[in-house]
């Protein structure tokens, strides 16, 4: 590991000032991803600015009935929060489906958003990777890619975003708040993660040196009937091979409102806008759910070893929508 300087920030403005415009400096939250990447040499910061003790550790109701989640709230505290469980149960389920109890106690909300892909070529510095070393190539396209992207990828990178939390946040139209030396800013999560295109090393639209300070969830009555379902290669403590966050509101047998986002299928959490379009206003039945899933997946471009994900995601979307409809009918 490269030697590095360490500074601890006590307020947001101070943290932003300490980081400055130094491209070799990183904010340190829980460290569960960054410290791991520093050990393997993927990350080689010259300086860390520790932001874990910033006063951003609260989950609060907003005036309009949404939630404001501070960036240093731990994953464990977020999933346990009564208002998260009551108003956005899919978010609590998504967080609980990720990592282990120990890691959830360490990992922060801000760090969860900014965690890096677990693609084996990205995490192995002896291999080429366009995300790690722009222009070096992507061995995954013709190599080990059974858990790689089927949507929105490019020849330059087929890695998937690893977060469960961000999938649920995407379904609920979360907004990311950040602070820069020039003042605060915000980005809808839908614009926070950049498309891969030919720049997989550029992952977010955050300005250089920006510190994520929190997330706002707008009020969403539909979210009270929501669910996160994750498929993985073992029953617990593994990254998803596919996941669905969904919320469903049915009135008189017709889909009145629906939120649908997919995980582990793209470089970012994937909002299933095509499926939502088919569902909205349509009869709430199995035929509609299947048509919606198929509509979303017409854009799928599977690789030789991950075609199973197309079937998996189709069935997963149908299953979760069916479960939510049954739940709503109770």
């Amino acid at each position: 590991m490269r030697e590095f300087g360490y500074q601890r920030a006590s307020d947001v403005a101070g943290a932003v000032a300490l980081l400055g415009a130094d491209p070799d400096a990183r904010f340190l939250g829980g460290g569960t991803n960054l410290v791991d990447l520093m050990k393997t040499g993927v990350e080689r910061p010259a300086r860390l600015v520790d932001v874990r003790e910033l006063p951003l550790d609260r989950v609060e109701m907003t005036a309009v009935g949404g939630l404001r989640i501070g960036a240093t709230v731990t994953n464990g505290d977020l999933a346990a929060h009564p208002e998260v469980r009551r108003r956005y149960p899919a978010l609590a389920q998504a967080v609980l489906a990720g990592a282990s109890g120990q890691l959830r106690n360490m990992a922060t909300v801000g760090g969860n958003l900014l965690q890096r892909t677990r693609c084996g070529y990205f995490t192995d510095v002896t291999k080429p990777c366009n995300k790690r070393v722009p222009g070096s190539g992507c061995p995954a396209v013709a190599g080990e890619h059974h858990n790689h992207a089927i949507l929105g990828a490019s020849d330059h990178c087929v890695a998937v975003h690893p977060s469960d939390m961000a999938v649920a946040l995407t379904a609920f139209d979360a907004v990311v708040h950040f602070e820069t030396a020039n003042g605060p800013g915000e980005l809808p999560l839908a614009e926070f993660y950049l498309p891969v295109a030919d720049t997989p090393h550029r992952e977010t639209a955050l300005p250089p040196g920006a510190l994520v300070t929190g997330i706002t969830l707008p009020p969403a009555p539909t979210a009270a009937n929501s669910r996160y379902r994750k498929v993985r290669e073992r029953a617990s403590y593994a990254f998803a091979i596919g996941s669905v966050a969904a919320a469903l509101d049915i009135r008189d047998g017709v889909v009145r409102d629906v939120r649908l986002a997919l995980g582990a299928v793209a470089s970012r959490p994937w909002r299933a806008v095509e499926a939502e379009r088919v569902l909205t206003g349509a009869p709430a039945d199995a035929e509609t759910y299947a048509a919606a899933a198929d509509a979303e997946l017409t854009a799928a471009r599977p690789l030789p070893h991950n075609g199973y994900k197309v079937t998996l995601m189709r069935n997963l979307m149908v299953a979760v929508l069916t479960e939510l409809a049954e739940e709503a009918a109770r």
Binding site: M1, E3, F4, G5, Y6, R8, L28, G30, G31, T32, V35, D36, M38, K39, L48, D50, R52, G76, A79, A80, P82, R85, R86, P89, A92, Q93, L96, A97, A99, S100, G101, Q102, L103, N105, M106, A235, S236, Y237
Partner: protein, 199 residues
């Protein structure tokens, strides 16, 4: 020798203060084991995946291998060495002993610290990925074997002592008045084994 890449820090561990110079690259796990002779927390994977290095940070379980020592300054650190009250073992330690919740013992300090965290998190009403009803009104779910297995999934045991580990966690939790609802211990007695062999 403090420089821009090292610092003199004071760590609060098991109620005692230790002051030491550390290179900033030092993890809490290496500081505990290599500098302070607290070798209870074990180095398994050193990647946050096995849980052998689990300690309590400000009372909550965490993996010491991904925690930088310099960033742990000011926090209350508890290792397995700090659990017993003199000769009186912590109830979770006693339950692991009574129910053989280990074989080789390498993962055990991490399992025990993690189990203490599990019991506290459950008592605080935290749900898990296998909890059916997440609504806070539903209250904490019974700490069933499924709940224990899910909550302890960050601690690997290469000997595969999981059956006894689950029983030990359930017994320790029951000792605190927690509803566990685990099935009566389905342990295979020597007699049962003999009968099966005869049949």
């Amino acid at each position: 020798m403090p420089s821009s890449t090292s610092s003199v820090i004071t760590l609060k561990i098991n109620g005692e203060k230790y002051t030491l110079p550390v290179d900033h690259r030092t993890t809490l796990l290496d500081a505990l084991r290599e500098r302070l002779d607290l070798t209870g927390p074990k180095k398994g994977c050193d990647q946050g995946q096995c849980g052998a290095c689990t300690v309590l940070l400000d009372g909550r379980r965490a993996v010491a291998c991904l925690q930088l020592a310099v960033a742990a300054e000011g926090r209350e650190i508890t290792t397995v060495e700090g659990l017993a009250d003199g000769e009186q073992l912590h109830p979770v330690q006693q339950a692991f002993l009574d129910l053989d919740g280990f074989q080789c013992g390498y993962c055990t300090p991490g399992q025990i610290c993690s189990a203490i965290g599990v019991i506290q998190e459950h008592a605080a009403g935290w749900p898990s990925a296998v909890t059916d009803d997440l609504r806070p009104e539903a209250g904490p779910p019974p700490l069933t074997a499924d709940e224990i297995r899910e909550r302890m999934s960050g601690n690997l045991c290469r000997c595969g002592a999981y059956v006894s580990i689950v029983e030990a966690v359930a017994r320790a939790a029951a000792g605190t008045g927690t509803r566990t609802d685990t099935a009566p211990a389905a342990r295979i007695s020597p007699e049962a084994g003999t009968k099966e062999a005869v049949a």
